[in-house]
């Protein structure tokens, strides 16, 4: 059990909470604003999760000279020699900062199991262990626990599979889930945190008095009921209070952005979700997941992929350029992936089915050496013909891309060390290198 880390966390947040808690709101809000201006740079990871499994053949690994390619046409990108789908014109312009892996090969073809594999880095059911999700793993490595915002935020998650949680790392690394009930970003309570705002009719002053009364009762209880649970309650209460008082550092106020930039991202849930991801990263959040669903294209694949790309392309490419404009691209890794690819062969309903054997993912920003393609799936796209990449290799490369050693380990509840990257994972060295400072990580370091 990771008691030690949990207790450390509690002590830490207690200290920081009590240090500033009762100095009134204004100084704190001013501080939040200063941070929001990008005064601090920290490492962050944005996952663009394509639920359902996007077709590689119609996005980033086209087969225009083969019947498997279907009607999808390719276009030039900003990197000579690399061509991707005409569905992604904006992304094509960002290719200098992106590396496409076309030779990913995995062994799970069921949505649930494949989602578990891709989002934890471990095959499901291999061991009696509740693996942490990618968000929790990197939140633990990259997060600042004294931050007013949680380290892992998941925007409108939709997955085929019960995964995304902290697993054995425990609730300190659980995602803060941002609701996304509607595709209309302007609809009520969309792209916001449930219950963050005080109820209608309760004034700011009344809320402040409620907190004062709570504080009195908390102190009273803590005197007679000393225990880890009491401490956790107090620390957590303070974090929730800071979230309310700073209105989550204003991260969710998307209307602070210009109309032009909001239009550029796209006025839909995914587009505005990507904009929100940038605002969260600016405010110190370590891991943000934004989901675009609708990729399970068993029928009418080509129209469906085209429609999805109309949402994906402006959002993804604007996220890249916006982060670059703000000097945050080098410190932020952006990964595009789903649970598997889709069959190169077109089925009877003009669709493509599940295909984990040879498919693609894209890494950008961070320490990624852009403008390159790794691996190949040959003429027909039916198998990896060059440089096969396994899930552990992908995880190792993501680690390197954001400057973390793949040798880190976490300790399971049974006291067993569980590697961040599954056994045998090797960094794709063409894409990223592990920084010197991380090279000496010892095993059993508790991550």
């Amino acid at each position: 059990m990771s008691t030690l880390t949990r207790r450390d966390f509690v002590n830490f947040s207690l200290a920081s909470a009590f240090g500033v808690s009762y100095s009134g709101w204004l100084p704190r809000m001013a501080r939040a604003a200063a941070v929001a201006e990008g005064a601090e740079k920290h490492k962050a990871f944005i996952l663009l999760w394509m639920a359902g499994g996007p077709s590689q053949t119609d996005t980033v690994d086209l087969k225009t000279d083969h019947p498997n390619g279907g009607p999808s046409k390719s276009i030039e990108t900003s990197v000579p020699g690399i061509r991707i789908s005409e569905n992604l014109p904006g992304v094509a312009k960002q290719m200098k900062d992106m590396a496409i892996i076309r030779s990913l090969t995995t062994a799970e073809g069921d949505h649930d199991r494949a989602t578990r594999l891709m989002l934890t880095g471990h095959r499901p059911g291999q061991e009696a262990l509740n693996y942490p999700s990618i968000g929790s793993l990197f939140a633990k490595k990259l997060g600042d626990e004294s931050s007013d915002l949680p380290a892992y935020v998941s925007i409108a998650p939709m997955r085929f599979g019960d995964v995304g949680g902290p697993g054995f790392l425990g609730p300190n690394y659980a995602p803060l889930v941002v609701s996304g009930d509607s595709n209309d970003p302007e609809s009520r309570a969309n792209l916001s945190i449930e219950n963050l705002k005080a109820p209608v009719g309760v004034t700011k002053e009344s809320m402040e008095r409620r907190f004062e009364i709570s504080k009195f009762l908390q102190d009273d209880f803590s005197k007679s009921a000393k225990g880890a649970s009491t401490k956790s309650h107090t620390a957590n209460f303070e974090r929730a209070r800071r979230m309310i008082e700073t209105n989550a550092k204003g991260a969710f106020k998307l209307d602070e952005e210009t109309a032009a930039i909001r239009d550029k991202y796209g006025r839909n849930r995914f587009g505005q979700g990507c904009l929100l991801a940038r605002r969260l990263v600016e405010r110190g959040v370590a891991f943000v997941e934004v989901t675009l669903e609708g990729w399970d294209t068993h029928a009418d694949n080509f129209n469906a992929v085209k429609r999805n790309c109309e949402t994906l392309d402006p959002a993804w490419s604007t996220l890249m350029s916006d982060l670059r404009d703000r000097g945050l691209l080098e410190s932020t890794l952006i990964v595009w992936m789903g649970e598997f690819g889709r069959t190169p062969k077109i089925n009877a309903t003009t669709g493509r089915d599940h295909f984990p054997l040879a498919w693609s993912t894209v890494l950008g920003g961070g320490g990624v050496k852009g403008g390159q393609v790794i691996g190949s799936t040959g003429k027909a796209g039916t198998e990896v013909t060059e440089r096969p990449v396994k899930i552990a290799d992908l995880y190792a490369t993501m680690c390197a891309g954001i400057g973390v050693s793949p040798d880190h380990e976490n300790i399971s509840p049974e006291g067993r060390p569980v590697p961040l990257v599954d056994r045998g994972g090797k960094v794709i060295e063409e894409i990223a290198a592990i920084p010197e400072s991380e090279k000496k990580v010892k095993k059993n370091s508790q991550g």
Binding site: A174, A225, T230, I244
Partner: protein, 537 residues
């Protein structure tokens, strides 16, 4: 807006004492059986106290004091019936002067079936929920579907079926026809099932059945040995597959039996024969199924591991920590507490696996009634057997809110139980629930829900809240009575002097009546969001 009639009714409820006197009435069913249980559970309490007195004496330790009546009251209600008491029940218990009031309360909560409180039924429902959480831990869709096991479990607890018999029914359960099923939660589309549902929700495979049964009922985790020999304990792959072979008739969620108790792992090349955990070979005879043979072996009087696991689980829920470190790992060696556990397990077997006797005995002991030990820094260093501050389960939080806020409970009056608010709260709390009462895992979403969610918002709104309005609008209550009633509703106690001073000052300094009412609402919010509400000391 609440009708005038309704809130005057609530005022009456908040002010009156309960209608059933605090003695065990003669109209309980099967009275003689319960009276026996009650007598011997008092003896068990004395035995527990003597054992621990001896252990502490030897190490020259003086245990903390016994708690006051109010703390005991809240503990007993939360631990047995899964909710804080009603204001009327709290008033009555605190005012009552009888010498045996604590024992009487425990007996009443465990055994009293009379209306309107129906204590025994509420206690059975709470323990069904606890047992379900232990059997299918976590927050997976399967764990959520396991709620469907509760009606069956509740029936076992409410008729006090001996524990060994209950587990035999579980282990040997077969699929029932669909007609035998009722609905456990219509909104969430969860069906209730008989005991066979257990095997379905833990995975519907021989392997999942073997892992779950050995962990839950024998306190041994062999799951690791499915793929490789256990890294720390003695268990080997053949132990795991030997147990799995008993369940070879469970396939794709169909719970049945095969004539051959053999199993071949998906990736394996050899069959494993059924073998009891520890290496003993079963003897197949008289046409018994492999699961019947396993159930007999597991629940036999000679298998103290079985009784010890049950005792340790009950102990964990009442005291906050098992008699040994982990309820799921009884195969690890232990010390002094382990000895007490062994002896208590033998007594449990002698008492014919009577759970009510066990629960009653622990609750009546002085040990149960002592102040919590501080668990500030390390888990070690807490005196064995002492209580620790416990975290409420999601169901306890909801039930306590329902009680404290005087929420309507019928399906017709838009109550939280039926309009989705309960499901929403439980689902949110489940995201951060733990089977270890020592852990408080709630995060920001859970905290925000209690701060600003609809249940709290309505509870602190003077127009909508039953309890708050009932108290604030009562013309015959002075401000101290009002404060006392709010405290009784949420904390089951009246405020201490310094609390009273602080809060009465706050009320007194309000400029007018309207502000005073608002101040009560703010205090009520503070009480509901205090650690004292979601933690049990």
């Amino acid at each position: 807006m609440m009708s005038k009639f309704l809130w005057s009714f609530v005022v009456l409820v908040l002010l009156s004492s309960s209608t059933v006197p605090l003695v065990l009435g003669a109209d309980s069913p099967d009275e003689s059986k319960y009276i026996q249980v009650i007598k011997s559970s008092t003896e068990l309490a004395r035995w527990i106290d003597a054992k621990f007195a001896e252990a502490w004496n030897q190490s020259a330790i003086s245990p903390p004091d016994v708690v006051d009546d109010a703390t005991f009251l809240k503990r007993a209600y939360l631990d047995l019936s899964g909710s804080v008491p009603a204001v009327s029940e709290a008033r009555e218990f605190l005012a009552y002067q009888g010498a045996y009031k604590r024992d009487t309360l425990i007996d009443q909560l465990l055994n009293d079936t009379r209306r309107p409180q129906k204590h025994a039924e509420r206690t059975a429902a709470h323990w069904a929920s606890l047992w379900r959480r232990m059997m299918v831990p976590g927050n997976s869709p399967e764990a959520q579907a396991a709620v469907g096991l509760e009606p069956w479990l509740k029936e076992q607890f409410s008729t006090n079926v001996p524990y060994d018999q209950m587990v035999r029914s579980l282990i040997t359960a077969k699929n029932e026809p669909q007609t035998a099923m009722t609905v456990a939660n219509a909104r969430l589309g969860i069906r209730s099932g008989g005991p066979a549902m257990y095997f379905q929700v833990v995975g519907g495979k021989p392997e999942s059945a073997a892992s779950s049964v050995t962990r839950m009922f024998l306190g041994v985790r062999i799951g690791c040995a499915e793929c490789h020999d256990h890294p720390f304990a003695e268990w080997k792959q053949k132990d795991f597959w030997g147990m799995a072979a008993f369940f070879s008739g469970i396939k794709n969620g169909v719970v049945g039996d095969l004539p051959d108790a053999k199993i071949r792992p998906e990736t394996g090349t050899v069959d494993y024969e059924a073998m009891f955990l520890g290496g003993e070979k079963p003897r197949f005879e008289n046409g018994k199924t492999s699961r019947e043979i396993l159930a007999e072996w597991m629940t036999s009087r000679n298998n103290t591991q079985f009784a010890a696991t049950a005792v340790n689980r009950v102990w964990l829920h009442l005291i906050g920590r098992g008699l040994t470190d982990s309820v799921d790992d009884l195969d690890k060696p232990s010390t002094a507490e382990g000895q007490i556990l062994d002896e208590l397990s033998k007594k449990f077997i002698e008492a014919k696996f009577d759970l009510r006797w066990l629960i009653g005995g622990i609750c009546k002991s002085q040990l149960y009634q002592r102040q919590c030990a501080a668990t500030d820094e390390s888990l070690a260093g807490v005196l064995p057997g002492l209580r620790i501050v416990k975290t409420l389960t999601p169901e306890q939080v909801f039930n306590s809110l329902e009680q404290a806020l005087s929420l309507p409970v019928g399906s017709a009056d838009g109550s939280a139980r039926f309009n989705g608010l309960r499901d929403q709260l439980i689902a949110r709390m489940n995201e951060a629930a733990s089977n270890n009462p020592e852990e408080f895992r709630a995060g920001i979403p859970q905290t925000l829900l209690l701060m600003n969610g609809r249940i709290t918002t309505e509870a602190t709104d003077l127009d909508q809240s039953r309890t708050l309005r009932g108290v604030v609008e009562a013309p015959f209550l002075n401000s101290e009575d009002k404060l006392n009633t709010l405290y009784l509703a949420v904390f089951s106690r009246v405020p201490r002097t310094e609390e009273k001073q602080f809060l009465m000052d706050y009320i007194a300094k309000q400029p007018d009546d309207e502000h005073q009412k608002l101040a009560y609402a703010e205090i009520f919010w503070g009480l509901l969001n205090s650690p004292e509400f979601v933690l049990e000391k």
